[in-house]
Protein backbone atom coordinates (compact mmCIF):
# COMPACT_ATOMS: atom_id res chain seq x y z
CA UNK A 1 0.00 0.00 0.00
CA UNK A 2 1.56 3.28 -1.00
CA UNK A 3 1.44 6.48 0.91
CA UNK A 4 -1.24 8.05 -1.28
CA UNK A 5 -3.80 5.28 -0.98
CA UNK A 6 -3.12 5.16 2.74
CA UNK A 7 -3.99 8.86 3.07
CA UNK A 8 -6.98 8.58 0.77
CA UNK A 9 -8.35 5.86 3.02
CA UNK A 10 -7.79 8.07 6.07
CA UNK A 11 -9.78 10.83 4.37
CA UNK A 12 -12.63 8.52 3.46
CA UNK A 13 -12.80 7.42 7.10
CA UNK A 14 -12.40 10.94 8.54
CA UNK A 15 -9.47 9.67 10.56
CA UNK A 16 -8.78 12.78 12.60
CA UNK A 17 -5.34 11.76 13.83
CA UNK A 18 -4.02 11.13 10.33
CA UNK A 19 -5.72 14.20 8.92
CA UNK A 20 -4.20 16.35 11.65
CA UNK A 21 -0.82 15.01 10.61
CA UNK A 22 -1.57 15.72 6.97
CA UNK A 23 -2.51 19.26 7.93
CA UNK A 24 0.66 19.77 9.91
CA UNK A 25 2.87 18.58 7.08
CA UNK A 26 1.17 20.41 4.24
CA UNK A 27 -0.68 23.46 5.42
CA UNK A 28 2.31 25.74 5.79
CA UNK A 29 3.35 25.39 2.15
CA UNK A 30 -0.17 26.06 0.93
CA UNK A 31 -0.53 29.04 3.23
CA UNK A 32 2.77 30.48 2.03
CA UNK A 33 1.72 30.16 -1.59
CA UNK A 34 -1.63 31.84 -0.99
CA UNK A 35 -0.20 34.68 1.08
CA UNK A 36 2.27 35.36 -1.71
CA UNK A 37 -0.58 35.45 -4.19
CA UNK A 38 -2.99 38.04 -2.86
CA UNK A 39 -4.65 35.82 -0.26
CA UNK A 40 -5.07 35.71 3.51
CA UNK A 41 -4.68 32.94 6.04
CA UNK A 42 -8.44 32.30 6.03
CA UNK A 43 -8.31 31.80 2.25
CA UNK A 44 -5.58 29.23 2.76
CA UNK A 45 -7.74 27.34 5.26
CA UNK A 46 -10.74 27.37 2.93
CA UNK A 47 -8.71 26.19 -0.02
CA UNK A 48 -7.01 23.47 1.98
CA UNK A 49 -10.36 22.15 3.14
CA UNK A 50 -11.91 22.32 -0.32
CA UNK A 51 -8.94 20.48 -1.78
CA UNK A 52 -9.32 17.60 0.67
CA UNK A 53 -13.08 17.44 0.06
CA UNK A 54 -12.49 17.50 -3.69
CA UNK A 55 -9.95 14.69 -3.59
CA UNK A 56 -12.06 12.57 -1.28
CA UNK A 57 -15.27 12.98 -3.27
CA UNK A 58 -13.40 11.99 -6.39
CA UNK A 59 -11.95 8.97 -4.71
CA UNK A 60 -15.33 7.84 -3.43
CA UNK A 61 -16.90 8.09 -6.88
CA UNK A 62 -14.10 6.28 -8.65
CA UNK A 63 -10.89 5.32 -6.89
CA UNK A 64 -8.00 6.87 -8.79
CA UNK A 65 -4.27 6.56 -8.54
CA UNK A 66 -1.98 9.32 -7.52
CA UNK A 67 1.32 8.66 -9.19
CA UNK A 68 3.26 11.46 -7.54
CA UNK A 69 3.37 11.76 -3.77
CA UNK A 70 0.12 12.67 -2.09
CA UNK A 71 1.63 15.88 -0.74
CA UNK A 72 2.70 17.02 -4.19
CA UNK A 73 -0.70 16.22 -5.62
CA UNK A 74 -2.49 18.03 -2.83
CA UNK A 75 -0.37 21.10 -3.46
CA UNK A 76 -1.26 21.11 -7.16
CA UNK A 77 -4.96 20.87 -6.32
CA UNK A 78 -4.66 23.73 -3.82
CA UNK A 79 -2.79 25.88 -6.33
CA UNK A 80 -5.43 25.26 -8.97
CA UNK A 81 -8.27 25.98 -6.58
CA UNK A 82 -6.66 29.26 -5.66
CA UNK A 83 -6.07 30.13 -9.31
CA UNK A 84 -9.72 29.38 -9.86
CA UNK A 85 -10.75 31.60 -6.96
CA UNK A 86 -8.65 34.50 -8.25
CA UNK A 87 -10.17 34.17 -11.70
CA UNK A 88 -13.75 33.97 -10.49
CA UNK A 89 -14.12 37.71 -10.00
CA UNK A 90 -12.79 38.43 -13.50
CA UNK A 91 -15.21 35.93 -14.90
CA UNK A 92 -18.29 37.47 -13.34
CA UNK A 93 -17.44 40.79 -14.85
CA UNK A 94 -16.88 39.50 -18.36
CA UNK A 95 -19.38 36.70 -18.64
CA UNK A 96 -22.76 36.81 -17.04
CA UNK A 97 -23.52 33.34 -15.96
CA UNK A 98 -25.28 31.98 -12.96
CA UNK A 99 -22.01 30.91 -11.46
CA UNK A 100 -22.01 32.93 -8.28
CA UNK A 101 -25.27 31.39 -7.18
CA UNK A 102 -23.77 27.92 -6.97
CA UNK A 103 -23.76 26.64 -3.42
CA UNK A 104 -20.54 25.46 -1.90
CA UNK A 105 -20.85 21.78 -2.64
CA UNK A 106 -22.03 22.43 -6.15
CA UNK A 107 -19.03 24.66 -6.62
CA UNK A 108 -16.67 21.96 -5.38
CA UNK A 109 -18.35 19.49 -7.73
CA UNK A 110 -17.71 21.85 -10.65
CA UNK A 111 -14.12 22.30 -9.58
CA UNK A 112 -13.65 18.52 -9.68
CA UNK A 113 -14.65 18.32 -13.33
CA UNK A 114 -12.47 21.30 -14.19
CA UNK A 115 -9.54 19.75 -12.35
CA UNK A 116 -10.04 16.51 -14.29
CA UNK A 117 -9.93 18.40 -17.57
CA UNK A 118 -6.84 20.27 -16.40
CA UNK A 119 -5.15 16.97 -15.55
CA UNK A 120 -6.07 15.50 -18.90
CA UNK A 121 -4.51 18.43 -20.77
CA UNK A 122 -1.35 18.25 -18.69
CA UNK A 123 -1.09 14.51 -19.07
CA UNK A 124 -0.87 14.91 -22.83
CA UNK A 125 1.27 18.03 -22.68
CA UNK A 126 3.81 15.92 -20.81
CA UNK A 127 3.76 13.36 -23.61
CA UNK A 128 5.06 15.85 -26.16
CA UNK A 129 8.73 16.31 -26.98
CA UNK A 130 10.67 18.67 -24.70
CA UNK A 131 10.86 21.23 -27.47
CA UNK A 132 7.11 21.14 -28.14
CA UNK A 133 6.32 21.35 -24.44
CA UNK A 134 8.55 24.32 -24.00
CA UNK A 135 7.26 26.31 -26.93
CA UNK A 136 3.62 25.54 -26.13
CA UNK A 137 4.01 26.64 -22.53
CA UNK A 138 5.39 29.95 -23.77
CA UNK A 139 2.60 30.23 -26.30
CA UNK A 140 -0.20 29.41 -23.86
CA UNK A 141 1.26 31.80 -21.34
CA UNK A 142 0.87 34.50 -23.98
CA UNK A 143 4.54 35.23 -24.46
CA UNK A 144 4.85 37.29 -27.65
CA UNK A 145 6.17 35.72 -30.85
CA UNK A 146 9.05 38.19 -30.78
CA UNK A 147 10.11 36.89 -27.40
CA UNK A 148 9.52 33.24 -28.37
CA UNK A 149 11.85 33.62 -31.35
CA UNK A 150 14.61 34.86 -29.05
CA UNK A 151 14.04 32.30 -26.31
CA UNK A 152 13.78 29.33 -28.65
CA UNK A 153 16.38 30.49 -31.12
CA UNK A 154 14.17 30.55 -34.21
CA UNK A 155 14.98 32.49 -37.35
CA UNK A 156 11.63 34.13 -37.88
CA UNK A 157 8.13 34.50 -36.64
CA UNK A 158 6.80 32.25 -39.36
CA UNK A 159 9.11 29.43 -38.28
CA UNK A 160 7.87 29.83 -34.72
CA UNK A 161 4.25 29.88 -35.87
CA UNK A 162 4.72 26.71 -37.91
CA UNK A 163 6.28 24.97 -34.95
CA UNK A 164 3.52 26.02 -32.56
CA UNK A 165 0.90 24.99 -35.08
CA UNK A 166 2.45 21.54 -35.34
CA UNK A 167 2.92 20.98 -31.62
CA UNK A 168 -0.52 22.29 -30.74
CA UNK A 169 -2.05 20.11 -33.44
CA UNK A 170 -0.42 17.03 -31.92
CA UNK A 171 -1.63 17.92 -28.47
CA UNK A 172 -5.19 18.57 -29.61
CA UNK A 173 -5.21 15.39 -31.63
CA UNK A 174 -4.21 13.25 -28.65
CA UNK A 175 -6.67 14.94 -26.32
CA UNK A 176 -9.56 14.55 -28.75
CA UNK A 177 -8.85 10.86 -29.19
CA UNK A 178 -9.17 10.30 -25.45
CA UNK A 179 -12.63 9.20 -24.36
CA UNK A 180 -12.37 11.14 -21.14
CA UNK A 181 -12.28 14.37 -23.13
CA UNK A 182 -15.70 13.69 -24.59
CA UNK A 183 -17.18 13.80 -21.12
CA UNK A 184 -15.25 16.90 -20.22
CA UNK A 185 -15.36 19.05 -23.32
CA UNK A 186 -18.83 20.49 -22.84
CA UNK A 187 -18.88 21.00 -19.11
Amino acid sequence: MNDASHILRALVNSDSRQIAHLYEVNFYQVEKFILQNKGQKQDAKDIFQKALLQITARYIKEPFEITASFDAYLFVVCKNLWRRELNKSKRWVTEQEGYEHADENQDIALSILEQKRWELFHEYLEKLSENCKEILKLFFNKVSYKRIIVLMNYNSESVARQRIFKCKGKLIDMVQKDNRYHQLKNL
Binding site: K45, L53, T56
Partner: protein, 263 residues
Amino acid sequence: MSLEDDILIEKYLNKSLSKEELTAFENRLLHDPSLQEQVNINKQLIDAINEDSWSFSSGHETEALKEYEDILNAPQLQNLKKTIDHIQDGDKETSKVIRLSNWKRYAIAASIVAIGLFSYFMLQAPSNEELYTDYLQLETLPSLVSRSDDSQLLAQGQKAFEKGSYNDAITIFNEAFLTTKESGVYLYLGISKLQLSQFDSAEKTFDDLIASDLIDAEKGYWYKALLYLKQDNTERSKEVLNKIISGDLYNVEKAKQLLKKIK
Protein backbone atom coordinates in the same frame (compact mmCIF):
# COMPACT_ATOMS: atom_id res chain seq x y z
CA MET B 1 -7.12 22.48 -39.77
CA SER B 2 -4.96 24.87 -41.80
CA LEU B 3 -2.37 27.23 -40.44
CA GLU B 4 -4.48 30.12 -41.72
CA ASP B 5 -7.48 29.00 -39.71
CA ASP B 6 -5.30 28.44 -36.69
CA ILE B 7 -4.09 32.02 -36.90
CA LEU B 8 -7.66 33.22 -37.23
CA ILE B 9 -8.66 31.27 -34.11
CA GLU B 10 -5.75 32.71 -32.21
CA LYS B 11 -6.71 36.24 -33.21
CA TYR B 12 -10.36 35.55 -32.45
CA LEU B 13 -9.53 34.36 -28.95
CA ASN B 14 -7.28 37.28 -28.15
CA LYS B 15 -9.78 39.64 -29.70
CA SER B 16 -7.49 41.09 -32.31
CA LEU B 17 -9.58 40.46 -35.42
CA SER B 18 -10.69 43.53 -37.33
CA LYS B 19 -14.40 44.24 -37.47
CA GLU B 20 -14.74 42.75 -40.96
CA GLU B 21 -12.67 39.68 -40.10
CA LEU B 22 -14.71 39.15 -36.96
CA THR B 23 -18.03 39.25 -38.76
CA ALA B 24 -16.78 36.82 -41.38
CA PHE B 25 -15.33 34.49 -38.75
CA GLU B 26 -18.45 34.48 -36.60
CA ASN B 27 -20.48 33.70 -39.66
CA ARG B 28 -18.33 30.69 -40.39
CA LEU B 29 -18.53 29.57 -36.77
CA LEU B 30 -22.32 29.43 -36.98
CA HIS B 31 -22.19 26.93 -39.79
CA ASP B 32 -19.05 24.96 -39.08
CA PRO B 33 -19.22 22.66 -36.03
CA SER B 34 -15.65 21.44 -36.46
CA LEU B 35 -14.38 25.01 -36.39
CA GLN B 36 -16.44 25.58 -33.25
CA GLU B 37 -14.84 22.54 -31.73
CA GLN B 38 -11.37 23.87 -32.55
CA VAL B 39 -12.16 27.24 -31.00
CA ASN B 40 -13.51 25.50 -27.94
CA ILE B 41 -10.48 23.30 -27.31
CA ASN B 42 -8.05 26.12 -28.07
CA LYS B 43 -9.73 28.30 -25.48
CA GLN B 44 -9.79 25.52 -22.91
CA LEU B 45 -6.10 24.79 -23.46
CA ILE B 46 -5.08 28.43 -23.14
CA ASP B 47 -7.12 28.89 -19.97
CA ALA B 48 -5.89 25.66 -18.42
CA ILE B 49 -2.21 25.96 -19.24
CA ASN B 50 -1.81 29.70 -18.80
CA GLU B 51 -0.77 30.16 -15.20
CA ASP B 52 -2.81 33.32 -14.74
CA SER B 53 -6.13 31.89 -15.79
CA TRP B 54 -8.37 28.92 -15.17
CA SER B 55 -10.56 26.91 -17.50
CA PHE B 56 -14.00 27.08 -15.94
CA SER B 57 -16.93 24.90 -16.78
CA SER B 58 -19.98 26.80 -17.83
CA GLY B 59 -22.05 25.10 -15.19
CA HIS B 60 -24.02 22.71 -17.40
CA GLU B 61 -25.91 20.19 -15.33
CA THR B 62 -24.34 16.87 -16.12
CA GLU B 63 -24.77 13.49 -14.54
CA ALA B 64 -21.24 13.45 -13.20
CA LEU B 65 -21.74 16.84 -11.60
CA LYS B 66 -24.87 15.63 -9.85
CA GLU B 67 -23.09 12.53 -8.58
CA TYR B 68 -20.25 14.52 -7.08
CA GLU B 69 -22.71 16.88 -5.47
CA ASP B 70 -24.56 13.99 -3.88
CA ILE B 71 -21.33 12.57 -2.51
CA LEU B 72 -20.37 15.97 -1.11
CA ASN B 73 -23.76 16.42 0.54
CA ALA B 74 -23.80 12.95 2.10
CA PRO B 75 -23.01 12.47 5.82
CA GLN B 76 -19.64 10.85 5.10
CA LEU B 77 -18.13 14.00 3.59
CA GLN B 78 -19.99 16.33 5.92
CA ASN B 79 -18.28 14.40 8.65
CA LEU B 80 -14.90 14.86 7.01
CA LYS B 81 -15.61 18.57 6.71
CA LYS B 82 -16.29 18.78 10.43
CA THR B 83 -13.10 16.90 11.19
CA ILE B 84 -11.06 19.33 9.10
CA ASP B 85 -12.85 22.33 10.62
CA HIS B 86 -11.99 21.04 14.03
CA ILE B 87 -8.31 20.57 13.17
CA GLN B 88 -8.14 24.02 11.64
CA ASP B 89 -9.78 25.65 14.65
CA GLY B 90 -7.25 23.96 16.86
CA ASP B 91 -4.61 25.78 14.87
CA LYS B 92 -5.74 29.09 16.37
CA GLU B 93 -5.46 28.09 20.03
CA THR B 94 -1.90 28.23 21.11
CA SER B 95 -2.48 27.41 24.77
CA LYS B 96 -3.31 24.07 26.27
CA VAL B 97 -4.68 25.26 29.57
CA ILE B 98 -8.04 23.57 29.20
CA ARG B 99 -7.12 20.58 31.35
CA LEU B 100 -6.69 22.54 34.58
CA SER B 101 -9.41 21.42 36.94
CA ASN B 102 -9.46 24.32 39.36
CA TRP B 103 -11.80 26.89 37.83
CA LYS B 104 -9.92 29.80 39.35
CA ARG B 105 -6.65 28.71 37.89
CA TYR B 106 -8.44 28.14 34.66
CA ALA B 107 -9.90 31.64 34.70
CA ILE B 108 -6.54 33.19 35.47
CA ALA B 109 -4.84 31.17 32.79
CA ALA B 110 -7.55 32.11 30.31
CA SER B 111 -7.19 35.79 31.04
CA ILE B 112 -3.43 35.55 30.62
CA VAL B 113 -3.96 33.90 27.27
CA ALA B 114 -6.48 36.59 26.35
CA ILE B 115 -4.00 39.34 27.21
CA GLY B 116 -1.29 37.47 25.41
CA LEU B 117 -3.37 37.10 22.27
CA PHE B 118 -4.41 40.72 22.47
CA SER B 119 -0.86 42.03 22.61
CA TYR B 120 0.17 39.52 19.98
CA PHE B 121 -2.33 40.98 17.54
CA MET B 122 -1.46 44.52 18.54
CA LEU B 123 2.22 44.01 18.08
CA GLN B 124 2.14 41.96 14.96
CA ALA B 125 3.40 44.27 12.23
CA PRO B 126 2.03 43.92 8.72
CA SER B 127 4.21 41.95 6.37
CA ASN B 128 6.03 43.63 3.50
CA GLU B 129 3.65 41.95 1.09
CA GLU B 130 0.66 43.43 2.94
CA LEU B 131 2.27 46.87 2.96
CA TYR B 132 2.91 46.58 -0.74
CA THR B 133 -0.74 45.80 -1.38
CA ASP B 134 -1.92 48.61 0.91
CA TYR B 135 0.28 51.25 -0.64
CA LEU B 136 0.08 50.27 -4.28
CA GLN B 137 -3.27 52.12 -4.54
CA LEU B 138 -3.95 51.49 -8.18
CA GLU B 139 -6.85 53.93 -8.14
CA THR B 140 -4.36 56.81 -7.93
CA LEU B 141 -2.90 55.97 -11.34
CA PRO B 142 -3.68 58.51 -14.06
CA SER B 143 -6.25 57.39 -16.61
CA LEU B 144 -4.85 56.85 -20.08
CA VAL B 145 -8.17 57.03 -21.86
CA SER B 146 -8.69 59.59 -24.64
CA ARG B 147 -5.44 61.44 -24.95
CA SER B 148 -3.17 61.28 -27.95
CA ASP B 149 -3.67 59.58 -31.29
CA ASP B 150 -2.78 56.37 -29.57
CA SER B 151 -5.62 56.67 -27.15
CA GLN B 152 -7.27 53.62 -28.67
CA LEU B 153 -4.30 51.43 -27.82
CA LEU B 154 -3.76 53.01 -24.42
CA ALA B 155 -7.40 52.58 -23.51
CA GLN B 156 -7.14 48.91 -24.45
CA GLY B 157 -4.06 48.55 -22.30
CA GLN B 158 -5.69 50.22 -19.36
CA LYS B 159 -8.70 47.98 -19.70
CA ALA B 160 -6.54 44.85 -19.71
CA PHE B 161 -4.67 46.23 -16.70
CA GLU B 162 -7.87 46.91 -14.77
CA LYS B 163 -9.10 43.42 -15.51
CA GLY B 164 -5.87 42.07 -14.06
CA SER B 165 -4.77 40.64 -17.43
CA TYR B 166 -1.24 41.87 -16.89
CA ASN B 167 0.32 39.78 -19.63
CA ASP B 168 -1.99 41.38 -22.18
CA ALA B 169 -1.40 44.80 -20.68
CA ILE B 170 2.36 44.37 -21.05
CA THR B 171 2.06 43.41 -24.71
CA ILE B 172 -0.15 46.40 -25.44
CA PHE B 173 1.94 48.92 -23.53
CA ASN B 174 5.12 47.69 -25.14
CA GLU B 175 3.51 48.37 -28.45
CA ALA B 176 2.29 51.78 -27.30
CA PHE B 177 5.83 52.62 -26.28
CA LEU B 178 6.94 52.60 -29.89
CA THR B 179 4.97 55.80 -30.46
CA THR B 180 4.19 57.33 -27.08
CA LYS B 181 6.55 58.18 -24.29
CA GLU B 182 4.41 59.34 -21.45
CA SER B 183 4.88 58.65 -17.79
CA GLY B 184 1.53 56.89 -17.43
CA VAL B 185 2.62 54.21 -19.87
CA TYR B 186 5.83 53.61 -17.90
CA LEU B 187 3.81 53.27 -14.73
CA TYR B 188 1.21 50.88 -16.09
CA LEU B 189 3.89 48.81 -17.77
CA GLY B 190 6.10 48.69 -14.71
CA ILE B 191 3.26 47.83 -12.36
CA SER B 192 1.95 45.11 -14.67
CA LYS B 193 5.38 43.49 -14.54
CA LEU B 194 5.50 44.00 -10.82
CA GLN B 195 2.14 42.30 -10.33
CA LEU B 196 3.52 39.32 -12.24
CA SER B 197 6.64 39.40 -10.07
CA GLN B 198 8.86 40.14 -13.07
CA PHE B 199 11.06 42.18 -10.79
CA ASP B 200 14.12 42.82 -12.93
CA SER B 201 12.12 43.93 -15.88
CA ALA B 202 9.86 46.13 -13.71
CA GLU B 203 12.89 47.72 -12.11
CA LYS B 204 14.27 48.54 -15.52
CA THR B 205 11.02 50.21 -16.53
CA PHE B 206 10.98 52.38 -13.41
CA ASP B 207 14.67 53.21 -13.90
CA ASP B 208 13.89 54.27 -17.47
CA LEU B 209 11.13 56.52 -16.16
CA ILE B 210 13.47 58.07 -13.61
CA ALA B 211 16.09 58.65 -16.30
CA SER B 212 13.57 60.26 -18.65
CA ASP B 213 13.02 64.01 -18.80
CA LEU B 214 9.31 63.68 -18.11
CA ILE B 215 7.71 65.80 -15.42
CA ASP B 216 6.55 62.71 -13.58
CA ALA B 217 9.93 60.99 -13.70
CA GLU B 218 10.22 61.12 -9.92
CA LYS B 219 7.21 58.84 -9.54
CA GLY B 220 9.58 56.06 -10.54
CA TYR B 221 11.19 56.19 -7.09
CA TRP B 222 7.93 55.57 -5.31
CA TYR B 223 7.20 52.47 -7.34
CA LYS B 224 10.75 51.25 -6.95
CA ALA B 225 10.29 51.45 -3.20
CA LEU B 226 7.16 49.31 -3.55
CA LEU B 227 8.99 46.92 -5.85
CA TYR B 228 11.66 46.20 -3.24
CA LEU B 229 8.95 45.83 -0.66
CA LYS B 230 7.20 43.19 -2.71
CA GLN B 231 10.53 41.45 -3.13
CA ASP B 232 10.84 41.53 0.63
CA ASN B 233 14.04 43.55 0.31
CA THR B 234 13.43 45.82 3.28
CA GLU B 235 16.81 47.51 3.20
CA ARG B 236 16.65 48.69 -0.37
CA SER B 237 13.03 49.77 0.04
CA LYS B 238 14.02 51.92 3.00
CA GLU B 239 16.89 53.40 1.02
CA VAL B 240 14.57 54.55 -1.75
CA LEU B 241 11.99 55.87 0.71
CA ASN B 242 14.67 57.93 2.41
CA LYS B 243 15.66 59.30 -0.94
CA ILE B 244 12.06 60.34 -1.60
CA ILE B 245 11.90 62.06 1.78
CA SER B 246 15.23 63.87 1.49
CA GLY B 247 14.49 64.96 -2.07
CA ASP B 248 10.88 65.90 -1.29
CA LEU B 249 9.79 63.77 -4.23
CA TYR B 250 6.42 62.32 -5.25
CA ASN B 251 4.38 60.85 -2.38
CA VAL B 252 6.74 62.20 0.29
CA GLU B 253 4.08 62.01 3.02
CA LYS B 254 3.17 58.44 2.19
CA ALA B 255 6.85 57.57 2.08
CA LYS B 256 7.26 58.85 5.66
CA GLN B 257 4.24 56.84 6.79
CA LEU B 258 5.39 53.71 5.04
CA LEU B 259 8.92 53.98 6.39
CA LYS B 260 7.52 53.93 9.93
CA LYS B 261 5.51 50.80 9.25
CA ILE B 262 8.32 48.75 7.76
CA LYS B 263 9.97 46.50 10.27
